[in-house]
Amino acid sequence: MEIKDVEALAELARIDLTEVEKQDLLKDFDSILAYVRAIEQVQIEDTESDIILHNIWRDDVSNQREYSKELITKQFPDSQDGFLKVKKIL
C-alpha cells in the first residue's frame, strides 16, 4: 500500500485526513493487512451455507412507536418549518 491508496480510501469514506495522519495510517495498515492476509491460507472445501437466510415479515399493520419528534428535530444542524435543511446536492 502507498500513500495514494490511503488517500483514495479516505476519499471514498469521506474522511478528511492530515498528512501526518495519512503516514500513521499507512504504517498501521501494512502490519494489520499483513496479519489478516492469513485468511488467504485458509483451506475451505466448497461448503454450502448452513445458515438459511430468509426474510422476517411482520403483519402489514401500523404500530405506534414511541418517538420524540421534538428531540429529533431539535438536533437537526439546520432546519426550516420543522424540516431538515441540507445544502444543495446537485
Binding site: V6, L9, A10, L12, A13, R14, I15, D16, L17, E21, D24, L25, D28, F29, S31, I32, L33, Y35, V36, R37, A38, I39, E40, V42, I44, E45, T47, S49, D50, I51, I56, R58, N63, R65, E66, Y67, S68, K69, L71, I72, K74, Q75, F76, P77, L84, V86, K87, K88, I89
Partner: protein, 474 residues
Amino acid sequence: MIDLATLTIVKARKALDAKEFSAVDLAQAYLAEIEKKNKELNAYLEVFGDVLEQAKIADEIIGRGESYALTGIPFAVKDLILINGKKASAGSKILENYVASYDATVIAKLKKQGAVFLGRTNMDEFALGSSTENSAYGVTRNPHDTVRVSGGTSGGSACAVASSMALGALGSDTGGSIRQPSAFCGVIGFKPTYGRVSRYGLMAATSSFDCVGPIAKNIQDAEIIFDAIKGTDALDSTTITETTYTKVNKKEKIVIGVPWELINQDGVNSKVKNNFKEMVKNLESLGFEIKDIKLPNCLALYYIINFAEVSTNLARFDGVRYGLHIDGKNLLEDYFLSKGKGFGKESRRRILLGTYVLSAGYYDAYYGKAQKARVALRTEFTKVFSEVDLILTPTAPGPAWKIGEKSDPLSMYLEDIFTVTANIVGVPAVSIPSGFTEVEGKKLPLGIQFMASHGAEESLFEVGKKFESIKNKN
C-alpha cells in the same frame, strides 16, 4: 449503612422487599460511592440527574407489593445503548451532544421492572478496541491497579460493577467487549447467543456479531439480568425464539473441551496458563470430564468482517441529521470535515480498512473468503459440540495491561484471540473470575471463559454456579 462491597442483586431484592432499606437509600449509597471514586476511575461519563426520582418510582412499586426481580436495582448502562431523553455518545466526539429519542428494547424491559439507571459508562469509541483507551473522553482505570486499563470495550460498565459504583450493568459484546473487561476487573461478563437479546436501540458496531449482555458480581445476578432483557423482538428481526435452537438435554457427565494447542502458544502469559491449568484441575475434581479439542485462531477472519461491517455502520454518522456538524463550502465538504473531526483514530482506521476489504479488487480475497471461512467455522463448531458440552479457555491471554502499553493497534487486536470465536459463530459465552495474579505488587484478576452451543445459556449458568461454589469454599 448499606455494605455495597458484599451486596448482590439477590440480597438487595430481599432487603428492598423487607423494607430494610428503600430504593432511594440504595441509590443514594451508590451516588455517594460514585462521587468518591469516579473522578479517579472514570467509569461513568455522566451520572443522570433523575436517579432519585427513578428510585422513588421503584419505591412506589415495592410499596404496592408489585416488585419485579430488578425493581430499585441500580444499573450502569454502556454509552451506546439508547435511553429516551438521555445523551448517548458511544464514546465519540461525533455524538458528543446526541440525545436519544427512544428507548432501546433492553432499556424498555428494565424500565418496566423499575430498575434505576445511575448513568452512562465509558467505552472504546463505537465499541472499537480492547481497553477503553480509544474513548474520546479518557481511559477508564482498573479498580485493582489504577495505572492499568479496565479492558474494553465495556470497560466503564465492568469497572463500575467491580468498584461498587453499580450493582449490575449492561454492556455490549462484539468480539469480547463484555467478557474481557469483566475478566480484567474480576466480575462476571455474559454474552448471550446471537439474537437472544434485542439489539434495537444498540448502536451497531458489527451487526452480525453484536450482542447486549449483563455484567454482574456473580452468576446468579447475571442470570437475573439476562432473564429480564432476553426475548424475541419485532423491532429486531435477527432475534431468535425459544424454539430456534433445540434444547440440550441434561447429561450425567458434562464434557468440557479445551483447545490446548491454542492456549499453550507463546503469546499467552505464563501466569494465565498456570491459573488456567489449576482451574481445569478444579473442574475435574468437580466431576467434569476434560477433553482436548482443536480450535483455529480466528482473529484474521474476525477482523476482516469487523472492518467491513464497521465501515458500513459508521457511514451513517455524517453530521447531516444529528451529532457533530462542521460547516464546509458544500455538502461534500461538510461530510469530510464532520467525519474527519468527529471520528477518533481507531474508528478512522477501521472505516478505511473496511473500505479496503470491501473494495472491488479485494472483496473476494478478504471479505468473500472470510464469509466462507465463517460458515466453515460454524460447521466445525456444530461438530465440536456434538462431542463436548462446553468449551473452556482463558478469557484473555494476559491480565490488564498498563495504560499506553499497547500503542500498536495490531498488538491490541491479538488480545481478543479467545473471545472473538463465540461472536463469529454466534454461541453464548461467559467470563468468570478465576483468581488473581500478582504483578508489580498488585493483585490483578484473571478470568476463564466457557462457551456453549447455540441457545444453551442455561448450561453456562449451571457450570458457572458450580465453579463459583469451589471458589467460595477456598
